[in-house]
Amino acid sequence: MTFISDTFTLAGRLIKHNLRSLDTIITVILMPIAMLLLMVYLFGGAIQIDGVSHAEYVNYVLPGILLMTIATGSAYTALRINLDKTSGMFDRFKTLPISKSAVLNGQAVASVIFMLTSTLIVLAVAFLIGFRSKASISEWLLALLLIVGFAIAVTWLSVPFALAASSIDGASAFSYLILLLLFVSSAFVPVTGMPKVVRIFAENQPLTHVIQAVRQLLTTQPIGNHGWIAAAWLIGITLFSYLIGTLIYRRV
């Protein structure tokens, strides 16, 4: 029980950090909203996708924007972990008689809560500008499960980077890799139009599977293999990052 209470006490501290940082709120919430509006109103008209009208483009692009929201949030997760490492807060926590894993778990819980809150706000804006879904409750729940899984995976992925980095800049740099992966996926345009080598990469990288699965669920289409492949990637990334992250944490 103390493990849970320690985790939530430490998560509460980081939630206060996020809520008190205007910079975090602007970057994590307003930036993805701006991207959504740009994609729908500025570039959307120029993007031609078979079977997707301009009015429906918001339905197409939303899963990618939700993942972008989470990826942007992960930069701040990495930043806060790195700050706690360099400022000596980890040393203070490590000398307290608390569960060893509570410190990183607290970071993860706070990160996922913040990512999902910002995702819900972006989703609400999407509804305001015309996003509509006829998905059933179970399809919504599955889509939500994948988004939560993605938030958990990206959060844990940020941990080893944040702990290994010697500066804040280095710690948050990895989130740009995820953002780059988003552009080389089916987030904004179908992969079919991409050059062959890029297409093969885009078709098989984890973000495409997550995006396709969420998109198909929300548009009530069959998800094919995307669902389980996405789940396998997310579980694999989470476990691998958790193990590496906790190993590094013991040494810093």
Binding site: T2, T9, R92, T95, L96
Partner: protein, 305 residues
């Protein structure tokens, strides 16, 4: 007096660099132990080993007769550690920082404990201010207050007054003395010799990876030799005449009109010297008795090491 911390032949090496080559020391319960050493001498490394943050390559540390490697969890309930540069959360308020630690120590009334400590460290007025707006002295006081949450028996303070102005330093020294009066054992590292002199019951000099000297501040000062008297005369001729008169006191000329002599017994020897000078019609324009400081000891030990 019973020992509460025993450090036995601790060794630590980082890659090719041997930082600690066999440190042994004991700390008496209820005392203040100051570990002195130059920058990079391994003070913080030793402190991290004692508090379980770092594993030693060899040697053993026991706290309250418990082995740090085997019983760290039990030991963690006995001590608190305050690292260099005030490990406080800038985004939270002073009160929130204390409540956070109180909750992590599973104290039943965390806000009450926080309020009491804020009052004890004169931070009540700033309780709800974010720590980012605190002065250096306030941050250090809060840091120390956070270390006291849960009433630990032993406090490890890593360079507690580094970067503080003299007034804030005095405040913190007073707070540390107060903690000793409450029966706490305090182990602090410092590079300020005056700090060790002011606070410590026992001092250990860390140099070349080991304790090169230890003892009370008085014993340490004795290592640097006896007191000296500096005499200033009007002319060089007077100095030349004074040297043979004061031969028994090992006179040394500092410049044309100044010489120093060694005092074996502070007051009586001083009077003896002044009387001898008067008898020989020599009148210094000024004289000053100087006791060796820990700076002298520090410089001498570092030179020898």
């Amino acid at each position: 007096m019973p020992k509460i911390i025993t450090i036995d032949r601790i060794q630590k090496q980082f890659k090719e660099q041997k930082v600690l080559t066999g440190v042994s020391l004991d700390v008496t319960r209820g005392s203040i132990y100051a570990l002195l050493g130059a920058n990079g001498s391994g003070k913080s490394t030793l402190l991290k080993i004692i508090t379980g943050l770092l594993d030693a390559d060899a040697g053993a540390v026991t706290v309250n007769q418990l082995d740090v490697k085997k019983d760290l969890r039990k030991i963690q309930r006995l001590f608190s550690f305050s690292a260099q540069n005030s490990t406080v959360d800038d985004v939270l308020t002073g009160s929130e920082n204390l409540v956070l630690i109180a909750k992590l120590r599973h104290i039943k009334q965390p806000q009450q404990v926080a309020n009491d400590l804020l009052a004890q460290f004169k931070l009540t007025a700033a309780a709800n201010k974010r720590v980012a707006d605190y002065s250096g002295g306030m941050r250090r006081r809060l840091d120390l207050a956070m270390s006291l949450v849960g009433d630990p028996e032993i406090l490890f303070l890593d360079e507690p007054t580094t970067g503080l102005d003299p007034a804030s330093r005095n405040d913190l020294w007073q707070a540390i003395r107060g903690l000793k009066q409450q029966g706490k054992t305090i182990f602090l590292t410092t590079q300020y010799l005056e700090e060790a002199d002011q606070l410590a019951d026992e001092i250990g000099f860390l140099g070349q990876g080991t304790i090169i000297a230890s003892g009370t501040p008085a014993e340490m000062k004795h290592l640097a030799g006896p007191e000296k008297m500096t005499l200033v005369f009007t002319t060089p001729t007077e100095v030349n005449r004074a040297v043979p008169v004061l031969q028994a006191f090992r006179p040394q000329t500092l410049d044309e009109v100044t010489l120093t002599v060694v005092l074996t017994k502070s007051v009586t020897t001083s009077l003896q010297i002044l009387s001898l000078l008067t008898k020989n019609d020599l009148q210094p324009v000024s004289f000053q008795v100087t006791a060796p400081t820990l700076d002298d000891v520090f410089l001498q030990l570092n030179k020898e090491a």
